[in-house]
Amino acid sequence: MEQILRNIGILCVVVGLFVFTIIPFLGTYQLEQKTVLEVVKPEHYEVIDLLFEPYYGKIYTNNVKFISTLEDAVKGYNNEQRKLENWDKVIYDDYVFTLAKSSVEGSVKNNPIIFLLSSVGLTAFGGLIYMIAGFFEPKRNGSQEGVFHSSMKNRGWLGILTGSYLIVFYIVLYWFPAYLVNLTEMVNPISLILSGQFAGQWFLYGFLYTLVILVMGIRMLINYRDNAYQKLRTLSVMFFQLSFAFLIPEFLMLFNMPWHDFKNIWPLDYTFFYAYRLDGMLSAGSLGLFMLFWGVILIVLGVPVMTYFYGKRWYCSWVCGCGGLAETAGDPYRHLSDKSLKAWKIERYMIYGVLVFAIVMTGLTLVNYLFEFGILNDSTQMLHSWYGFFIGAAFAGVVGTGFYPFMGNRVWCRFGCPLAAYLGIIQRFKSRFRITTNGGQCISCGNCSTYCEMGIDVRWYAQRGQNIVRASCVGCGVCASVCPRGVLKLENGEEEGRMSDLPIIIGNDSIKIQH
């Protein structure tokens, strides 16, 4: 029975992904002068009109040809201006996505729902069918059997293929979104209902992201159906992604408010203090002021207070969107994290490095903003583009998610997230959270370390009978769940005795050893 369900599921996923992958290449593109007039800023209109004139009315059946033609035209013009040192004439605005979106015609645009159902819908359906098979299998209670025999989960060809696909998708999404206009056409109807606007690449991304968390969240709920902690935690990330990160921001747009994710916190939300965000909030009435106030409260009060009582898990594995994806879609890859001491050393340099970068950048940005760009001029602009490229897109996106099948599901959270760094400092030095160990029961089997997505060598502590207090622990609770001897427990408790360096391995009355 379960094998039949699994096979049907796999078939649906494969077909759905195939349709999803070919959609960008369907349809035709035809650029019209009036589109250019609508899309392009008045100051650029004359130039662009001249550049694109030869292509007006032509029908392109190949999106690569169409997009590269437009891009080459602009690029050629820009190069010429640069050569002449006419810096102010260079066009930095990227019109290609919007132009492509307005120029595309064809079956996807005409039948978005059919394509949505047969690509994303079919994949999600297949995934659900596959997971429901888990119900017919014996209860798992922490078991992770078969993980290292799986091509998908243990860096086999399926894993490599999945990772490569994700990486390509992220690169196209961030830097070549014009190729995805057909996919955005497909989700237009949903975007129109939610925000009253046509879907852009970020709506497409948000939609897919939320769907993945929901579907893979159901997988978590099935696989960990004996574990109340895992179930609640998963429901929590599903809820926060669906409402706070997806629906509410879209509804805000419907009411002409700035897009805002109320659970995102600076410095993860690194644009929070950027001029356009501040201006947006300040000009959005009392709700806008609340956004600003709430965002600052979260930074100065929310993070320290909540982390003091519950550890950083309250955010990282219960609320956060990156954490939400890591804990659902990333769960099959948690064992791929590097547990070596060397990785821990690299981790500390990197994550606190990013935190410092974010703080310096934000500080300068605020100074610049308060002095109305009188002192630093456009220099913060450059910092923003560097941070956006290397940290925001390349690290958090391409590496953060695309590397799931290669380096585990928390690469970004562990090595890069500045908010995780901030939460971690509080967790390490002032919190009631810890993982306690059960006396002398540890058998050093290493299941806990193997399945720690943050690469913490949990066993190192457990076999010494020592509480685990680490800045990076996101409190996912899987170490406690895979432990076959009931040794580990996530707890909030008295601060006293939390970080005992005098572990007790009880049971030996001959001596009392301090490890």
Binding site: E145, G146, F148, F309, G439, S444, S449
Partner: protein, 452 residues
Amino acid sequence: MSSSIKKNDRVVVIGNGIAGITFARNLRKSNSEVSITIISGESQYFFSRPALMYLYMGQMKFENTKPYEDWFWAKNNFQLIHAWVENIDLESKKVICSNGHQENYDFLIVATGSTPRKLRVEGIDLIGVQGFYGLADLDLMEKSTKSISHAVVVGGGLVGIELVEMLLTRKIKVTYLIREAYYFGNVLPEAEAKLLTQLIQSHGVDARLSIEIERLEGDVSGHVVGVHTTNGAFIQCDWVGIAVGVQPNISFLKNSRLETNVGVLVNKYFESNHVNVYAIGDCAEFKEALEIPRGNIEQTWYTGRMHGETLAFSLAKEKTAYSPGVWFNSAKFFTTEYLTYGHVPVMVQEPLRDFYWESSEKDKAFRIVYEGESGRVLGVHSLGWRIKHQFFDRAISEQWTFEKVMRQLHKADFDPEFYKSISKEVVKNYSNGSVLKNKSVKSLRTIFKNWF
């Protein structure tokens, strides 16, 4: 404090299991200069033996079973020799390896662990019949179960059920022969043993109770094709796992003059009959039996660790006798964890009394045994409920009464957050009014305290 190991002494440990490694590490901690050599034929580096089953099940890989990274050994100045020891020359203080290597010692620690106990039945040496203890057994099993469809496992103990579980993950049909009336019936009271037997059966295992193996049958190529049981049945199969316990792995000592019985005979200081030669862990046999249920030979992971740390302390600091505290142990049967503290006998008879609780779904159980007269608690165990070691170690060693333990039972809860509190269930089922009254006041405060 006087240490018997001097700066320039050469300490050689045979065996890199938990006992030998714990000894070596603890010795190194108190003495950074002494030369420590660890010899093992099984593996270059220390790994966790209880994790071997997870390798077969694809839940871990060998790398994950090593508690310390490979650089750890050189950094802490341990010399590791990957070779089998053939003999010991006690006169000239030399360890002789099968590859010709010889190692001189001033102190010798024998920590060679166990080997599967062999059944003396016809056909036991057929191909496809094996025990399960070390890396070699795992490799053999990996190869010999590649294309089989039906396996027989013999032995209703902890390794037996591991084998059953392992085989099931490869979709191999398993017939399980258990000598006792129920699984683990030589350790657990009938109710718990019954519960576990049902659990095993619920996983599709053909468990045959009160049955032993009589002989094995092979084909012309010497490969096992089936087993004959004591009730006259013949079970066709292409693989047989024998898990009827382990015995000290000391056959390499048979030509030495070290005094042995089942294991290397030692006193409570782990001293053998030969000066500066010690034995620890599974291979050591105490001349004087330890308190029930420990006996003369201790074969658990943590006792190996305790032997190691005690001997290291004894040699590096001051001579100390081994004195284990309250007995404890744990295991996991499929999805059900088992934790035990103190002694719970198979049959609870006067003057002992007990209280037993079982969940209605029959997946959780708890038993507490006490002296009827004094009420003093002697032991507890649980199935499917994580209970705290610290709590029961204290309760039993401080001789708490049954009433006192039950009143504070919520402090023993070690299940993850948001789990239904088993201690409440247990106490609810125990119908002593005074216990309940005291508890409710306590729990209100606990709820408040645990709120954050």
